[in-house]
């Protein structure tokens, strides 16, 4: 993930978009962990989960899919739509599940440490 905070004007969102972007792979794995899905549906799930406040650009997501497929964390297969454009479905693999769980554990531990260091209690300083 390229850190482009220096080039962009400060974002009005009440969260750090850069921090989110750094976890795009894990976020996509999280979307796929319950059911297989295709590009636009994954994008929509992420957009709706943040209440529409933040959306990961689809171009970024395509790069993520390619990386995840290359690493064997998800598998791609073409769907059997009979009409309209064909969809490419992604499905999480066992390796992907393991990486997802590891990343979630890492994140939880890290968040715990940072909260401690910043003297955060119950979400408030």
């Amino acid at each position: 993930m390229v850190n482009d905070a220096g080039r962009n004007p400060p974002q009005p969102e009440p969260f750090s978009a850069d921090l989110l972007r750094g976890h795009t792979d894990t976020i996509v794995l999280g979307v796929l962990k319950d059911a297989e899905s295709y590009g636009f549906e994954i994008y929509k799930t992420i957009r709706d989960a943040t209440g529409g406040a933040y959306e990961i650009k689809e171009a970024t997501l395509y790069a993520t899919y390619r990386r995840l497929v290359k690493d064997g964390l998800v598998e791609a297969s073409w769907g059997d739509e009979t009409q309209g454009a064909r969809r490419k479905y992604y499905r999480i693999t066992d390796a992907g599940r393991a990486v997802y769980l590891q990343n979630v554990r890492d994140w939880t531990a890290t968040a715990h440490i940072i909260n401690k260091l910043l003297n955060v209690k119950g979400g408030m300083p």
Partner: protein, 315 residues
Amino acid sequence: MSGAENPSIHRRLDEAFGGVTMTPEAQDLKEEIRGNLAARVNELAAGGLDGPAAVSQAIDELGDIRELVGEVAGPGRAAGARAANAALDARLLHRVRPKPAYVVGVVIASIAIAAGLLFMVLGATGVLPLPIGPIIGFAGVASTGAAWIVGGTLAHETTSNYPVSKDRAGGYFFATLLGVYGLAVGGLVALGALPVWVVVFAALGVVAAIVLFAFLGATQTNRKKAWAREAAREYQGQDRFSQDPVAAARFGIYSAVIWIVAFGLFTGLGFMVGFGISWLALLAGLAVHMIVLARMLFPSDVPGVSTPGTGLQEE
């Protein structure tokens, strides 16, 4: 307006991929983006946004795909390393998963074949005291299972093959059913469970199956996907039949002659000497068939200077 039919999606995509060497990977990405854009345009249209405006917004939301497109473009990557894994890459790019219903169906059909054959043989040899009706029924169950696997597999899209039409798949189903049922009834005659004259029906079924298979085979058009044909072309060189269609045609005629003679001998010997011995004719037919196949595929002389009749010269 439906997103899939919206012509401006295709135009805008062509613009975005303009000047890009269309590697299989680039083509794959383009198709994927096309599908997702169509889904987004449909969503926007449902929200009341007009066709072209919806397309423009969907494209804008896509973000900057130039870097991504550059990544999948042809030149700039080590060609040698790519070629080694090209076939595998293509297989992953075009992957189509088998439908769970089909897999379950194949398993059930396999169980039906195994159980049908088992009870048929146990009944016919007298191990189980079954009347002849149910024994023939079990043969039918086994052959229906085999036919279902053949028909279902052909009607099913795979990673490398398009499905055949429902009608043709039905034809293959029927041909397999007739052939296997015929063989099974022939087996029952050989085991002594059925009177000898029933072998006429068995032979009729097998001959009808051969005729039907010949018809289906002769009218079969290509069902391999383009990428699979390309991969096959790269590996071509050892396979004589794809290099030399004349050899393949000759082999087909030899096969027909061998099996017609074998079935003739089988039936003739069966009536004159007994069906306990006549099956040797089929065994001999199979042996000759395999020898001819080996000689046709791997001629002893240099390919290209082979003379007509290579396969049978030394028989």
